[in-house]
Symmetry: C2
Subunit: 128 residues, 2 copies
C-alpha cells in the first residue's frame, strides 16, 4: 500500500489505495503499459547482447585480415537502411539514428579501452 | 567489384576480388555477421517503435491523472532489473545502462519539445 505524491514525483503503484475511480483506472492502465515496456526492454537487452557478440567477431576478423576499423561505405548503407526501417516501423528516424550512434560510439569506446590496455586495437570493430 | 583499402578505411565488399584465400574467407565471414547485425538492428528498431508508443500512452495517462512525470521508485526498479537481465543475456551492464539512459533522455527531450510548442508538457512521459 504505497501512495506518494509530491510536485516533483508521483510513485505509481497498482497496490496503492487511489480513491478516485478515474485515477485508479489510469494507475491500472499504466501498470499494464509498464509490463509491456519491461518486456520490450528485455527483448532489446537480449538483442544488444547478440549484436555486441557479432561486432566483437567482426573486429577479430578485421584485425586478422589487416583491415582498418572504418568502412564508410558500410556506414552509409546503415544510415540509409535505418531511416527506411524506422519509417516502416513508425519510429521517429531521429531515435533510430541516436540508437545507431549509441552502438557505434560504444563500440569505439571499447575499441579504445582494448588499445589502451596494450592489446590488439583491431580486436573490437567500429563500423560492423 | 569494389576493393578499396587505405590506412583509414577498408571497404569490405563480398563482391570484391580478394586475392588471398584467407582474406577472402574473412570477407565472407564478415558479410555473414553483418547480415545478422542488420537483422538484430531491424528487430531493435521495431521494439523501439513499440516502446515509444507505450511511453507516449503512459505520458497521456499521467497528464490526465495529474501525476508528475518522475517516479523514482519505478526508476530504481528499472535500474536493478537492467543489471540483472544484462548479466543473464551476457551483455556488459554498462551498455544496458547506456541504453536505459538513452531511452529516458530521448523521452525527456521529446517532453520538452512538446512543452516548448505550447502543448501539454505531460503528454510525453519521462520515467515510464
Amino acid at each position: 500500500m504505497t501512495k506518494q505524491h509530491t510536485s516533483d514525483e508521483t510513485v505509481i503503484d497498482a497496490e496503492g489505495d487511489w480513491q478516485d475511480p478515474k485515477v485508479a483506472d489510469a494507475v491500472a492502465k499504466i501498470a499494464q503499459l509498464r509490463q509491456s515496456i519491461d518486456n520490450i526492454d528485455m527483448a532489446i537487452v537480449a538483442m544488444l547482447a547478440e549484436r555486441f557478440k557479432c561486432t566483437a567477431q567482426v573486429g577479430v576478423l578485421k584485425a586478422k585480415a589487416g583491415f582498418a576499423p572504418a568502412d564508410y561505405k558500410r556506414e552509409e548503407f546503415q544510415l540509409e537502411r535505418f531511416r527506411r526501417i524506422a519509417a516502416a516501423a513508425g519510429l521517429d528516424p531521429q531515435i533510430a539514428e541516436m540508437y545507431r550512434d549509441f552502438v557505434v560510439t560504444e563500440a569505439k569506446k571499447r575499441h579504445k579501452r582494448i588499445a589502451d590496455a596494450g592489446d590488439d586495437p583491431g580486436v573490437l570493430d567500429v563500423f560492423a
